[in-house]
Symmetry: none
Subunit: 202 residues, 2 copies
């Protein structure tokens, strides 16, 4: 028996079971007899394409013909889509927290000094960065910006540090633009402002 058919059968069976469907239930949904499904799952039958597609569709799967050289990438996508949540590394979590802290600080100070356009610019960049979490560098750049703003709060004449941060942000934004990732596709990462903060950096 074709090992590739076996593979398809296994995938289908796994999908069915992961959805908690019995062979009869799936059969009803897909318009295929239970007996037929049983036979296919056990490699006892060489399904017709229409049957396969009917089954796949009932299981929210789509048939794709994938060029050999990109199958690893595709398999990788499929596998991680089966994973429940996206786990982030500590590094990424820390970066995320730094970004959130920055946004809070910005919110705060902008209320006090709404006329300072650099603050608005920083805020705009920070909002952009939310969508690019996967590609963000370490926390330092955000922490520095945070400090710059806090300093500015005390010494309203001194915009230098803020402008430095702005330049850094601009540069980062440019870099990120080279790797555009559809924000819609980014998994439901918790809203920026509701993150649990175990931070301690300031």
């Amino acid at each position: 028996m074709h090992y590739e058919i076996e593979n398809v059968a296994k995938t289908l069976k796994a999908a069915r079971e992961s959805k908690g469907l019995s062979q009869r239930a799936l059969g009803k949904k897909a318009g295929v007899l239970q007996a037929q499904i049983s036979k296919f799952e056990n490699g006892a039958v060489d399904l017709r394409l229409s049957s396969l597609i009917a089954l796949a569709r009932a299981l929210d799967l789509e048939l794709a013909l994938v060029p050999r050289k990109v199958t690893p990438a595709v398999q990788s996508i499929i596998k991680s889509s089966e994973r429940p949540a996206v786990t982030r590394s500590d590094e990424q979590r820390r970066t995320q927290n730094a970004l959130v802290n920055l946004q809070k600080t910005l919110d705060n100070v902008t209320k006090l000094k709404p006329e300072v356009k650099e603050l608005a610019q920083l805020a705009r960049y920070a909002r952009d960065f939310e969508r690019f979490q996967i590609a963000l560098p370490d926390t330092k750049i955000f922490q520095n910006a945070n400090k710059a703003i806090e300093q500015f709060k005390k010494d309203a004449e001194n915009l230098n540090k803020i402008r430095d941060s702005l330049a850094q942000f601009e540069s980062l934004r440019n870099k990120l633009a080279h790797a555009y990732i559809d924000p819609e596709a980014l998994k439901p990462i918790r809203p920026a402002y509701n993150l649990d903060e175990d931070d301690g950096d300031g």
Copy 2:
């Protein structure tokens, strides 16, 4: 006839033609009659799975069952694989180099310590990342992995750093898998100064 079957048929036909194969040539390669191929390409027949797989394999294609929610990402990957190489920025080129270096180091050390499964895992991830070049973060994560491995070479007891890298890689891969890569992003990159809508430079 099922539009999904039509779709498969079209894909197969396109693949055959792009390889410059006649129906007879393909038939010989796949062990399928020319008449059968003609009928299938015209939607006049409901192929059996074994025949479909034979044809696909002869065309360097693989059958995959893709969860609906990630089909856009998969389609995107497939499409970009059909495109010629993309010109990359210096940043991306550097990242690419770091990735290649990492793979070399891995190759090297894996020969010395083939029993360490973490190395194999890192290699697997690294291979995956090749497909996602446009969306990779900066070089650091790869350089760190590289260092971790070099360290491990001297101190074979110490797997901690390698495990850290592994966690980072896993996380990155998850992100990448969820991130639909807009094919548009592979086209010419906008110059940095046009990125933001309304601000002049501070």
